[in-house]
């Protein structure tokens, strides 16, 4: 299934913040994680991910640092900040409203069909 561009863009920030809340991570791992979590349905492109990461950093929601892995590779890790956690909470509430409303309309739809 192809998730629309608009939906991917809209859900990018909360997903990113949620992933970073679970632990610091870097671009490549984040893309893999999103793929995994969505059962290969959400494929993020690098061209979308990095600009979003940089924007969130500019907004002060996350911060970055370079860290050398055991294999000796320098990676740019991102860490969620206090303001990012607050933002995540706000976004979570917004999404819950949307999801709840959608769930309701869908269940109503099936009732109509049955009746």
């Amino acid at each position: 299934m192809n998730v629309s561009k608009e939906l991917i863009a809209a859900s990018a920030t909360p997903l990113l913040l949620a992933i970073l809340k679970a632990g610091d991570s870097y671009g490549y791992a984040i893309i893999k994680r999103v793929k995994e979590m969505s059962n290969n349905e959400l494929i993020w492109s690098e061209g979308m991910l990095y600009p979003v990461l940089h924007r969130l950093e500019e907004q002060g929601l996350i911060e970055s640092y370079w860290y050398k892995s055991e294999a000796g590779r320098q990676r740019k890790y991102y860490r969620i900040k206090e303001r990012g956690l607050q933002e995540l909470e706000i976004q979570r509430k917004q999404w819950e409203v949307v999801v709840a409303a959608l769930a309701k309309t869908w269940s109503e739809g099936t009732i109509h069909k049955e009746g």
């Binding site: 490549y28 791992a29 492109s45 690098e46 061209g47 990095y50 940089h54 590779r73």
Partner: protein, 451 residues
């Protein structure tokens, strides 16, 4: 034989040449690419296969790939990604060039227009008019160029051109009495003020942000280098024109002065900003090198000067001209320091040039401190004139900037702040320049009663 490192190196160079990526971006993308390659190799691909596939994935993401494929080098991955040349970028570039030509002609013609009303550029009487207004002939076109390029909203157009119009009205409505000191000062400071205003058009919506402003500082430096090169070309063309016409007994000097030079200056300005914007990468690799060559040389000169001053016990003989010379020294040091800073990768650890920068700043501060203490005394003894106050003000503004940078460098070396903070301070300081130049251009004449 396939060499992964060589291929990655050349890929990196192409990203760099693209000009839209900072070194940090490139390093980040590179670690991404390497992770992907490693994963693919683990799953059984050879290095070259893994490289091509990783690149394709990374490249497909956005316009990056188009840009790689366009570049004309014979690389393995180029054959693989022969995308058609991005037609949109092509169209934009053509539009930019049309704008450059059109705006050059318009600005040049605008410069010729006052002659119809009897204000000849060569007349001594109209000199003041041109001094006051020179920046208004070209900079609005530069601002328009960026506003069109950025697809700015109507509001931005109104704001920026409103200020241009206001500035034009104010400087021309002010009376001016001999010896015209404040009018001349206003003519000197207005271009700087309007250039900063043009900066807002260059940066666009995020004109208060650190990155946008840093880009503008970098852009200013590069545009300056291009302008010097292009102007040198115009002069060579002029001398050449006059020389060959002279050989057949025709004096082309009038043509040169009245047309070629005027349109040439406008063209130099427009071409410089177009080049500095479009072909960032060429000079981007070039300006920092110049700065790195000259900052040690300036440091040596300044230290020698300071040493001689201390040993011989001679303090600089203080006249306004010398104060202006010291202003230039500070401005030049600031320029050098900024070139080095703007080309620097924020995440890079402290390096030699950071220390060199600090040494340069501190030496300049000491010399200026000595000069300033001498001149303050003389200024107070001989009364206040607008020129003295302006020269002094410039000195203090530059001194403030350099002292702030030195302080920030010190904190950075002690690891109390990161480099972003230092850049932020510098970009915020642009507000001081904006305020000071506006003050001299618009308020000075009132304070000194338009003398």
């Amino acid at each position: 034989m396939f060499d992964l490192e060589v291929q990655i190196n050349s890929w990196r160079d192409h990203l760099r040449a693209r000009g839209n990526f900072t070194e940090t971006d490139i390093r980040e993308l590179e670690s991404h690419l390497r992770d992907q390659i490693d994963d693919l190799i683990t799953s059984g691909l050879t290095a070259d296969e893994a490289f091509l596939i990783s690149l394709k994935r990374l490249g497909n993401a956005d316009a990056i790939s188009n840009e790689y494929a366009k570049v004309n080098t014979d690389n393995l991955w180029k054959h693989f990604m022969l995308d058609p040349v991005n037609p949109q970028a092509e169209r934009q570039n053509r539009r930019d060039i049309v704008m450059v030509v059109l705006f050059t002609l318009l600005a040049g013609t605008l410069l010729k227009l006052p002659e119809l009303f009897g204000l000849k550029m060569s007349d001594a009487g109209s000199e003041l008019f041109y001094v006051k207004n020179r920046s208004l002939f070209i900079l609005p076109f530069v601002a328009a160029f960026f506003l069109i390029k950025r697809g700015a909203e109507t509001k931005a157009w109104w704001m920026i051109f409103g200020i241009f119009a206001l500035a034009a009205v104010v400087v021309n409505i002010y009376p001016s009495y001999a010896p015209h000191h404040t009018a001349m000062l206003s003519g000197l400071h207005l271009p700087l003020f309007l250039w900063l205003l043009t900066g807002a058009a260059y940066i666009g919506r995020d004109w208060q942000g650190r990155q946008g402003r840093m880009n503008f500082i970098r852009f200013s430096g590069e545009a300056f280098i291009y302008a010097v090169l292009v102007m040198a070309g115009v002069m060579v063309l002029g001398v050449f024109t006059m020389a060959i016409f002279e050989s057949i007994g025709i004096d082309a000097e009038v043509f040169f002065e009245q047309y070629l030079l005027i349109y040439g200056v406008c063209a130099a300005a427009m071409i410089s900003i177009y080049l500095a914007d479009a072909k960032k990468s060429i000079v981007e690799n070039f300006a920092p090198i110049l700065a790195k060559i000259f900052s040690p040389l300036f440091l040596v000169t300044l230290v020698c000067f300071l040493a001689v001053m201390v040993v011989t016990g001679k303090s600089p003989f203080m006249e306004r001209e010398f104060l202006i010379a010291f202003d230039f020294m500070l401005a030049m040091i600031l320029g050098l320091v900024l070139y080095v800073i703007s080309a620097r990768d924020i995440n890079q650890p402290v390096n030699l040039f950071d220390y060199l920068n600090l040494a340069l700043i501190v030496t300049a501060l000491i010399i200026d401190g000595v000069a300033l203490s001498a001149i303050l005394f003389r200024l107070s003894a001989f009364g206040i004139t607008p020129n003295k106050v302006a020269a002094l003000g410039e000195n203090l503004v530059l001194l403030g900037n350099l002292a702030g940078l030195a302080w920030m460098y010190g904190r950075y070396f002690k690891k109390k702040i990161n480099f972003t903070r230092l850049e932020k301070w510098q970009t915020d300081y642009l507000n001081v320049y904006l305020a000071w130049t506006a003050f001299v251009a618009f308020i000075f004449p009132i304070i000194f009663k338009f003398v």
